[in-house]
């Protein structure tokens, strides 16, 4: 379970999130919605420990990510950022194995044919799936995904959603940022709207 306790986040001189509290239930899928610049990614980054809230705290099962060393934190949460840029020509398999075992997830996300391709040659959607696969391979109780569906076709979208549902059922707390309108989100357990 993730608790958000009266957090405010300033980026530069601008206050992105003001005095916000919420509870994200464990073993579920939570979707953060909102227009551009509303602070969706900022909230996700704060949960990941990238940003320390200016005021208030976030805890993941009583651990404050902003105060936890990177190696310990990587056992608690995984995160796929929105635009993963690959600079070195590792293969898809090599990238995923930086996080953990690759075999299962490569199959689940239909990456088998790409597994020996260099990540620097992938299309946007393919790179995004590799990034998601890497986060999932970390096998953490909390999985944070920034716009995982943005560059995917319908087939892959459904494949990802199905996989996330499976993970949630088996106990993973999934939080993702999405652009979709609410009607599509029948698969979400909770929706957070950022204004």
């Amino acid at each position: 379970m993730i608790s958000i306790n009266k957090i405010s986040i300033d980026l530069g001189s601008k206050q992105i999130i003001t005095d916000y509290s919420d509870q994200i239930p464990g073993a579920s899928i939570t979707v953060i919605l909102g227009p551009n610049g509303s602070g969706k990614s900022t909230l996700l980054n704060a949960m990941a420990g990238d940003i320390k809230p200016t005021k208030g705290t976030i805890t993941i099962d009583d651990t404050d990510p902003a105060l936890t060393p990177a190696s310990q934190l990587s056992k608690l949460r995984a995160m796929a950022i929105q635009n993963q840029n690959y600079t070195l020509g590792f293969t898809v398999k090599q990238i995923i194995e930086m996080a953990g075992d690759s075999k299962e997830i490569i199959e689940a996300l239909a990456l088998t044919e790409l597994s020996n391709r260099q990540v620097t040659t992938l299309s946007g959607g393919e790179a995004q799936r590799v990034s998601i696969a890497t986060a999932i391979a970390q096998k953490t109780p909390v999985l944070l995904l920034d716009e995982p569906l943005a560059a995917q076709d319908i087939e892959n979208r459904e494949r990802i959603i199905k996989l996330l549902q499976k993970l949630a059922v088996s106990g993973t707390t999934v939080v993702l940022v999405a652009h979709s309108s609410e009607s599509e989100l029948i698969w979400a357990d909770k929706v957070i709207k950022q204004a």
Partner: protein, 323 residues
Amino acid sequence: MKKVAPTILLVLVTFIAIYNGAAQIENFWSALFSPGSNEILWQIRIPRVTAALIVGASLALAGLIAQGACNNALAEPSILGTTAGASLGTVLAVLTGFVQVGSLGAIACGALGALLATSLTFKLANLRSKLSSFSLIIVGIAVSAFFTAAVGLLSSMVTRADARSISFWNFGSLALITQENLLGISITAILGAAIAWRVSPALDRLSLGDSTAFHLGIDVPRSRLLALIALSLLAGGAVSTVGSIAFIGLAAPHIARFIYGPVHRKLIFHTAIIGALLVVAADTIARSAVQPNELPIGLITSLVGAPVLIALVTMRNNIWKTQ
């Protein structure tokens, strides 16, 4: 075949380097197999070739670590200010009179200068935003220019033999190497390589960007600091002993990645081999191209290294995608 070629070439070139020289060694083979027997072979030529091997490996590894730690294909000791810092550190230490070029003390001061100059580059490049590759290179070039000018100024104001000349610091030379110099550069090479071995998994992950590396459990500032220390030791040892030899730090890691792929732990060994090969070959050419004169080794490495690098970059090569 492609994968063992550098090692085979290294053995071959090293042999040629030991066999050839201004002096004819009588009974070469028996002299080679009885250490110490022939003075020219054992006190002059073999120490010099050994130094070339160690320096080449050090500079190449320094380049590999610099590129990995900055996640930037252009990062190289001479671009990040590392080389200029090492020169300045050594010259200052020599001029204040408590160390001599090539001694362990000079190497320590060179490594310290390298560390300070590189940290300065990182600090200045970081001032405005997150480490961007563009500002890193621009700031690095400026810091290098400044420190190189300081070295030039010092060596023209204080003309002392033991502080070496501007051309030594700019182009490098192995001509003044003696056996005593080998200990220092061996220590920095081994320490640097050991630290590089330790941070190499982190360097792999840093290629995904700082934030993804962090998500994967890498303490980014700490890893970068360790890499910086390894970089400074390697470049500091080499530069404070033989001056700066151009292009090795840039060319060797790129050639190695082209052949062996991007995994840093695997690259440590291969990059060192390729760096050693390049420097031994360049030094052999420098010694024998215009006998009895010698050319500055930095000229040869630039003449050979630049086209090789251009060829690699223009060939189909997806190992390093420029951003």
